[in-house]
């Protein structure tokens, strides 16, 4: 067993274990912490796949921002735990059956006969001076620059939507009164006063 395989199985074990612990944990805050462990393991696996930029992005954006947002909301809402787990077991058998069928079907389709090393050989590792960020940036700012701009606009819309949804006390909101702005006269805004300026002698 090569070193790559050992790493892969270690990271996979923690990925799967953390995911299982996440979905079965009774406490939402603990579930977030398990999900953070799952994301770290996923980032490790992405680094094995030589996607360093996305692995770092996963940790920075997901663990650093999104998961902290989750924790913030969980702590802020102070959820009643007992009401949320009343129907815990009722849908578990159905969910397990559906998931087992999906997993079995996917294992049949994605097994070694279709995607094994004989069918698709592992590519050679890149040299030490290979920069994943440079390669991605070259694609992102040439071929994919339009989707990139659209993603930026999407984030802007998300910011505005999130703020609009949770904002309250409309009385403090700064708004424009269009009619007042249009009907304003110059003399309402500027008035001239004549003052006597003293000359050089101070008289």
């Amino acid at each position: 067993m090569s070193f790559d395989q050992i790493l892969f199985y270690v990271f996979s074990f923690w990925f799967i274990a953390a995911s299982l612990a996440m979905i079965f944990s009774r406490n939402a805050a603990k579930a977030v912490l398990f999900l953070i462990l799952a994301f770290f393991s996923a980032a490790s696996i992405w680094i094995l796949l030589e996607a360093e930029f996305l692995a770092i992005t996963l940790i920075l954006v997901y663990v650093g921002a999104v998961m902290v947002l989750f924790l913030f909301v969980i702590k802020m809402l102070n959820i009643d735990k007992s009401s949320l787990r009343a129907k815990f077991a009722s849908y578990l058998p159905l969910g397990l059956i559906v998931a087992a069928i999906i997993a079995a079907e996917m294992a049949l389709v994605l097994g070694n006969n279709q995607f094994g090393l004989e069918m698709m050989a592992a590519p050679a590792r890149h040299a030490a001076d290979y920069s994943n960020i440079t390669v991605l940036a070259l694609q992102l700012y040439t071929d994919y620059v339009y989707p990139f701009e659209l993603a930026a606009v999407l984030l802007l819309i998300a910011i505005i939507a999130a703020i609009t949804l949770v904002h309250r006390n409309e009385g403090n909101r700064k708004t424009q009164n269009i009619a007042e702005q249009v009907s304003v006269k110059a003399k309402d805004r500027v008035y001239l006063v004549s003052i006597t300026t003293p000359n050089k002698e101070g008289k």
Binding site: F15, A51, L54, V66, S83, L84, P123, A161
Partner: protein, 101 residues
């Protein structure tokens, strides 16, 4: 060496765990959102594995956009959740049946 099918089966397992999570935690919206995140990470792992084995960076670009959209989704989802808690006093899925005829 680790083959492509290992990565694909790993992400299939994670996808199924996320699916079971949606079944199990169907009353808690926060955990539902986290299960959706888990499913998205499984899909992203698929994209990156194919990108690595086919030598094509387009898959990684796609993952980049999926991460962007997922971050926006979480922000708006948690905003809606806060609003729901403010109006209903609970985030149980069962209380969100106001549109029921």
């Amino acid at each position: 060496m680790v083959s492509l099918s290992d990565y694909l089966i790993l992400s299939a397992i994670i996808f199924c765990i996320g699916l079971v999570g949606i079944f199990v935690n169907r009353t808690n919206i926060i955990t539902l959102l986290m299960c959706v995140e888990l499913i998205l990470v499984a899909v992203n792992t698929n994209f990156i594995a194919f990108s690595h084995f086919l030598g094509n960076e387009a898959g990684q670009i796609f993952v980049f956009f999926i991460l962007t959209v997922a971050a926006a989704e979480v922000a708006i989802g948690l905003a809606i959740l806060t609003l729901l808690f403010r109006n209903k006093g609970s985030i149980n899925v069962d209380v969100t049946n106001s549109l029921k005829g």
